[in-house]
């Protein structure tokens, strides 16, 4: 039995900020949901089921917050699921929501992912010391910096590639009305001049900590017929591996490579760099752009990624525009960050990305990863109904 066709007909997101002190958690989620429903020309009463995604509950200090939020999210009286796959959760949540339609179980599904990071402190929540252990960890930056160093060593990348990514994404963010960081003066030089936080990662090469939410409306073929510009789901994939294992490749994890291969096959794509018109890739630290470009098969391993970035190919007017929205480097409500990638990919193929629209984008990638580069969630969306 084949998957039922499914399409994104509504995308909504909040204005992402360091602190959204004007709203509660429910208010934050509803800001994104109400925009997505408006976009889809539907109301909460039209929705069959709701899928909620969020990163660790310690961020907000609420255990399974979807329970208390159920009424405000319009989920009361309906099926509600809560997904948590670490940083990839926004993507995984969208995939679970899509599967409700693809399985033929529901016709109109709402999915929302959020994080209200200002309720606590992510560095604290991610580094709660455990007995018996050596407390050398220093949040996500401290975790990923050694692996960035490994990439630089393995690929022979020049020092400034990370800065190219950071400057590009921050400039892209100026075209996105919802982006958190709006720094018009960010340049490669200014990034290189910023403080070294987790050497080799500089301050301007790191993502912010944001409050924000993203919501998608995913519907079946009949419902999508009423939409002027559905984003059809051409492929979804999730892959996981261990945080640590003997001789695990932490720069280019096998789960990432396997996920990409499976995704391109599902979507009927043989040459991703030619066939994908826009990519929203989860890049919380700038160096992950070249790293994931290689892992996803857009470029040769051990050096193709940074060469592609350095060539300008990933800029908005390049051969493979990456993170035209400004990406995670410009807005990072952790639980929602993956869904924002998935939603921005949908906006591109719907021609609805506004100022950061890539002209004529027909197929786009949404990508998220989490844990210690071990959980991967990806989808390809297209402006045309998939033929397979």
């Amino acid at each position: 039995m084949a998957k039922q066709p499914a399409a994104v007909v509504g995308v909504g997101q909040t204005h992402h900020r360091a602190k959204r002190e004007d709203v509660s958690m429910a208010g934050l989620c509803r800001e994104a949901i109400d925009r997505a429903l408006l976009d889809a020309n539907l109301t909460l009463d039209d929705i069959d089921a709701i899928v909620v995604g969020k990163a660790p509950d310690l961020f907000e200090g609420v255990m399974m917050p979807e329970l208390f939020l159920a009424d405000a999210l319009g989920a009361a009286g309906k099926p509600l699921l809560r997904v948590h796959t670490a940083g990839s959760v926004g993507g995984s949540t969208a995939i679970v929501a899509a599967s409700l339609v693809q399985a033929g179980v529901h016709r109109r599904v709402l999915t929302v992912a959020f994080e209200k990071q200002s309720e606590s402190n992510a560095m604290w929540a991610l580094s709660v010391p455990l007995p018996f252990n050596m407390p050398v960890h220093a949040g996500a930056g401290g975790y990923f910096a050694p692996h960035v160093r490994s990439y630089i060593r393995r690929s022979g990348a020049p020092n400034h590639v990370g800065a190219i990514v950071a400057a590009k994404d921050r400039q892209n963010a100026l075209k996105n009305p919802y982006a958190h960081l709006k720094n018009p003066d960010t340049t490669v030089e200014s990034v290189l001049a910023s403080q070294m936080l987790w050497d080799p990662i500089r301050y301007d090469e790191t993502c912010p900590s944001s409050d924000g939410a993203c919501a998608l409306v995913i519907v079946d073929e009949d419902t999508a017929a009423a939409s002027p510009n559905p984003a059809w789901i051409h492929g979804t994939v999730m892959r996981s591996e261990a945080t640590t294992a003997a001789e695990r490749d932490q720069v280019n994890p096998q789960a990432s490579r396997d996920a990409a291969a499976a995704l391109w096959k599902q979507a009927g794509i043989t040459n991703p760099v030619e066939e994908i018109d826009a990519a929203e890739i989860y890049v919380p630290f700038s160096w992950f752009e070249p790293m994931w470009l290689e892992s996803l098969g857009f470029a040769e391993a051990n050096g193709g990624g940074w060469r592609l970035t350095e060539s300008g190919a990933t800029a908005m007017d390049g051969r493979l525009p990456v993170n035209c929205s400004g990406g995670v480097l410009s807005s990072n409500p952790i639980g929602a960050s993956g869904m924002l990638r998935f939603g921005e990919a949908a906006l591109q193929v719907r021609g609805a990305a506004g100022e950061h629209q890539v002209d004529g984008a027909r197929r786009a990638l949404g990508h998220a990863y989490g844990g210690g580069s071990q959980f991967f969630a990806m989808w390809v969306v297209g402006s045309e109904k998939p033929s397979n």
Partner: protein, 355 residues
């Protein structure tokens, strides 16, 4: 819809697990049991999904080490819900329904004894107007029990009957951690704890883990002569507010019941962590008087957090496999006072599943 069956089930329950909250140590033998039951190895599993809670373990990303128990080279198609095993199973069932995979192994684990469970669960409540007061789970259930007693929906005797039957049935369940029925009179003579609840009205704090294997069509038939075919799988949630809900009812359970066919069910495994909650569920599901309730002893005799609901489905499936019954229902709940409810109707043939 595709015909999908429960074909494997393994569980562990204990009052106090002395190992790591990652529970990898518990999961390894559970997976081995599932392989033994199915004759499969991990390469036969198309999709994995787990359920657990960071706050139960007391740390972020408590579930990430659990994938070690699978052995994840090569990497696996995998997901995680911050929910009970039953909902992890629901996600896996969806994945099979999309046609992407034919088999799935779902698991869940929790070390409730690592903290003070009834206090930890206060973090599930409204964080602005409830959690700052730390209302504990037992108290919330007590408010619900009192509401039903006051409304004449049930009485202490009916609650004691539930507890006595559960404790008696648990004697035959090697995994139950509380067992030994006596008589309704004896139970009623025991002291009140959280008035109107006595201790036997409340499920014991339980550590544990469980795993369920799903398979579609011929993959199920190759494993078992009598796979437990999923005839219906549905769930629903109510608002959390203790004030606006009628605490004597569980509308989400009733809604789930209308979405499946419960006619002919011979056994119902109901996830009722408090005795009066079984009474609510029986009413909402409209179960006939001859339906056997919780032959495993149910949650009152062992309720490992995050697998206690899924275990009800596994127990129901076991009775289909054995030929004891031809139709059964497994139920799972989540949230305070039966806020969220899931029903899984299982049958010995695929006829019901084709509805």
């Amino acid at each position: 819809m595709r015909d999908v069956a429960v074909v494997g089930f393994a569980q562990r329950q204990m009052p106090e697990f002395d190992g790591s909250p990652t529970c990898v140590e518990l999961l390894v033998p559970l997976f081995a049991e599932c392989y033994e039951q199915t004759g499969w190895s991990r390469g036969d599993i198309g999709f994995w999904c787990s359920g657990s809670s960071d706050y139960l373990a007391g740390r972020s990303f408590s579930f990430v080490s659990a994938v070690d128990a699978i052995g994840v080279i090569p990497p696996v198609n995998e997901s995680h819900v911050e929910m009970d095993l039953a909902w992890a199973m629901y996600e896996a069932w969806l994945k099979i329904q999309t046609g992407e995979v034919d088999t799935a192994l779902v698991y869940a684990f929790g070390k409730a004894s690592a903290g003070v469970l009834r206090r930890t669960l206060a973090l599930q409540l409204d964080p602005y107007t409830m959690t700052p007061l730390w209302p504990d789970t037992v108290s919330l259930a007590g408010l619900q029990a009192r509401a039903g007693i006051d409304a004449g929906a049930w009485d202490e005797r009916a609650m004691a009957e539930v507890a006595n039957r559960s404790l008696t049935d648990a004697e035959k369940n090697e995994y139950a951690i509380r067992k030994g029925g006596s008589s309704v009179e004896e139970l009623l003579a025991r002291p009140m704890y959280a008035d109107p609840l006595r201790k036997h009205d409340c499920s014991p704090v339980t550590d544990g883990a469980a795993a369920i294997v799903l398979a579609a069509g011929d993959r199920a038939r190759e494993v078992r002569d009598r796979p437990a075919w999923i005839e219906g799988l549905t769930h629903s949630i109510d608002p959390m507010s203790m004030g606006t809900r009628d605490l004597t009812r569980a509308p989400s359970a009733a809604r789930a019941a209308t979405a499946v066919d419960l006619v002919g069910v011979e056994v119902a495994e109901l996830h009722a962590p408090f005795s009066h909650q079984e009474l609510i569920l029986r009413r909402e599901l409209g179960l006939a008087g001859d339906v056997r309730i919780n032959p495993s002893g149910g949650a009152l005799t062992g309720n490992p957090m995050f697998s206690g609901g899924g275990i009800r489905i596994g127990e129901a499936a076991s009775r289909i496999w054995s030929g004891e019954v031809s139709k059964a229902v497994g139920h799972a709940t989540s949230g305070p006072a039966l806020q969220q409810n899931l029903l899984c109707v299982l049958g010995a043939t695929t006829e019901g599943a084709r509805n």
